[in-house]
């Protein structure tokens, strides 16, 4: 996907500028303590916001050449990876280690190299292998399966 020369830096620079303004606004809202402190809890965050704003402006005005941005399909793959990982984070506690790990590892393996059989084996192998490593070698208290099944 071609975003044009320096467009990536420019877009990110604008985002940084907006973020810096929001950060500074949040810093202005901070309550001060009762102790006498010439700097207070606002000054340092405001300095940081100022540096961010300057750097963001430099990125907008003097952008670097664009990196090789991924194609739409790869953006989709990355979004799927993030989605799978978020799901994995939520599933790890209620479903235990084995099932979510096999699925997440299998999907990630498939995304790196699209060979379904290999991904299936990688998911199962990693799930069982890592469980054995964590549980029996490192002694971590992981539950293998959902509470109702184990």
């Amino acid at each position: 996907m071609d975003l044009g020369h320096g467009k990536g830096d420019r877009i990110f620079g604008v985002a940084v500028l907006l973020g810096a303004v929001a950060y500074a606004a949040a810093a202005m809202q901070l309550r001060t303590g009762f102790m006498s402190d010439p700097v207070g809890s606002k000054t340092f965050p405001l300095l940081v916001a100022g540096v961010c704003a300057i750097c963001g402006a430099v990125m907008v005005l003097k952008p670097d050449a664009d990196p090789d941005w991924p194609r739409a399909r790869t953006w989709g793959a990355l979004a799927v990876a993030v989605g799978v990982l978020v799901g994995y984070a939520y599933a790890l506690k209620p479903l235990g280690f084995l099932i979510p790990t096999a699925i997440a590892a299998g999907v990630l393996s498939y995304q790196i190299d699209a060979r379904p059989r290999y991904a299936l084996l990688a998911g199962l192998g990693l799930s069982l292998g890592l469980f054995a490593l964590f549980r029996f070698v490192l002694g971590l208290g992981l539950s293998a399966l959902p509470a109702g099944l184990s």
Binding site: G33, V51, D64, Y90, L92, T101, Y110, D113, G123
Partner: protein, 506 residues
């Protein structure tokens, strides 16, 4: 004599069977991590931190294990440089220039052995220099007050940023983002929440381990998904490995010179091993001149960067242990380990926790010999690691990251935060924004602000107090020069071309 008695204390700690076993294990894991393309020392140490803590290791044991991984990864980085022309990490990049041509000329074994011995010489001399210099520097650091510490942190950011990126604005931005993230949580002085958005999970601030694992390990997986694990490098077969004694003897001065220069590069806050390997390669190249044949596969071209980067790795521990300012990306990660273990690096560390510091230094000395033993006769074992396919390795890395962080914090919120940092790391890599200053910012942000506030309280708000001592003026000057100099130096010094498919790492 002090040093000898301290070393005796260190060896009494390091030579316990448990610590020794951890050092050997760390060396082994580290070499594997270093050898794998894409997983450098920062990733390796970051990945193992949560696991280490979950195992319930004490401070010394955890530190010994992780620094052995650090040293091991510095050794291992050369293996994929030489055999695949892909540096395992950025400091190993210069080793590609002569190591890969040597391997293509049918001398892969020689290149691996020479670089292994050079790594040993560099790391050993650096560890000896560390044990001689660090206590002295720790005494100087007693002269530091809040104003000096504030300037020192600034120096670390400016030099690290200056070297970590081609674009100063991006390096400064990365530092500022890290500092901004560090402000999240309860204000140290007033106890009032800042930038938490009312989210209770954020009242303790953002755990730097979560940020480290996300920015290094998780983002790596995204990079591989994007590239579909493609690897265009030509692998070189490794035949019989013998020790080329004559050639090793011939490069002795190269190894010694490079160790000295690499150590200095490592000690400079923020400079680190990448600079060490670059400077030493360039130095040897200019000494040898056109007749040296650098770039065609000469032993000096392998020995110089390996001695330099391993020596810099040891040098980088000096500012970390004595001043609490990391000298490189990996030492920033190790600093996080110390802080998580409730150990405050700095001058008082040598007085308060001598068993930790000297146990660590003694373990490093031992680790060097273990690494030499592993990396010369057993190099074929590590070479096998290169055959692990990324579609198995990277999901494994991700799962280890998840379990490590989850077992440490027990919070799914931290896992989500880690994924967020992973996405941020991927984006930053695309935009050539360095990630190490972000970590440094998160790590040092609170201390930097505390010192600024303390300095202002002491001086009743007089800003000139920040420049009131010789040390602070020197540090401010160095910080400004450290930030500005790369702008000019980059025009003068051009890095040699590295392979297109090389994976630059922080």
């Amino acid at each position: 004599m002090d040093i000898l008695s301290n070393l005796a204390l260190g060896f009494s700690v390091a030579l316990s069977p448990w610590t020794l076993m951890l050092a050997i294990l760390g060396c082994f894991i580290g070499t594997i991590v270093g050898a794998l393309p894409g997983l450098g020392p920062s990733n390796g140490v970051a990945l193992l931190i949560p696991i280490t803590f979950s195992m319930g290791l004490d401070a010394t044991a955890a530190l010994v294990l992780l620094t052995a991984v650090y040293y091991g990864a510095m050794y291992g980085g050369r293996i994929s440089s030489i055999l695949l022309n892909i540096p395992g990490d950025e400091p190993a990049m210069m080793t590609c220039l002569d190591g890969y041509p040597m391997a293509r000329n049918g001398r892969a074994g020689d290149a691996l052995v020479i670089s292994g011995v050079a790594s040993f010489v560099g790391a050993l001399l650096a560890t000896i220099a560390l044990l001689l210099i660090a206590p002295m520097l720790a005494r100087v650091a007693y002269l530091f007050g809040p104003a000096e510490y504030f300037a020192l942190y600034l120096l670390a950011f400016s030099t690290l940023g200056g070297i970590a990126s081609k674009n100063q604005a991006k390096a400064a931005l990365a530092s500022a983002i890290g500092l901004g993230i560090a402000m999240i949580g309860l204000d140290n002085q007033t106890g009032l929440p800042r930038f938490t958005g009312g989210n209770l999970h954020l009242f303790d601030g953002v755990d730097f381990l979560v940020a480290i694992v996300g920015l290094f390990a998780v983002s790596e997986v995204f990079v591989f998904i994007e590239s579909h694990g493609k690897n265009t490098a030509l692998g070189v077969k490794l035949d019989k490995v013998t020790v080329p004694w004559r050639e090793i003897w011939a490069v002795r001065w190269t190894m010694l010179r490079s160790s000295a220069l690499g150590f200095v590069a490592g000690v400079l806050p923020g400079a680190g091993a990448s600079l060490g390997s670059f400077l030493t390669y360039m130095m040897e190249k200019s000494i040898a001149g056109d007749k040296g044949g650098f770039g065609t596969g000469v032993a000096k071209g392998v020995a110089a960067p390996e001695a330099g980067n391993n020596s810099a790795a040891g040098g980088a521990l000096v500012p970390m242990l004595t001043l609490g300012v990391p000298g490189s990306g990996t030492t920033a990660v190790l600093l996080a380990v110390l802080m998580t273990l409730n150990i405050t690096p700095g001058p008082t560390l040598f007085a308060d926790r001598p068993e930790v510091v000297w146990g660590l230094i003694a373990s490093l000395l031992i680790a060097n010999f273990v690494l030499l033993a592993m990396n010369v006769p057993l190099v074929k074992v590590f070479v096998k690691v290169l055959t692990v396919p990324p579609q198995l390795l990277l999901p494994g890395v991700m799962m280890v990251s998840f379990v490590g962080i989850y077992s440490l914090t027990g919070s799914y919120f931290d896992l989500l935060l880690m994924i967020g940092f992973g996405a941020m790391g991927w984006l930053f890599r695309k935009l050539d924004i360095p990630t190490v200053p972000v970590i440094l910012g998160i790590l040092l942000g609170n201390a930097m602000e505390d010192n600024l506030r303390r300095a202002m309280i002491l001086s009743d708000g007089d800003v000139t107090f920040l420049f009131s001592s010789g040390i602070s003026i020197g540090l401010w000057t160095a910080a400004v020069l450290g930030f500005v100099a790369p702008l000019f130096l980059r025009r003068i010094i051009r890095k040699p071309e590295v392979p297109d498919h090389a994976l630059p790492r922080d």
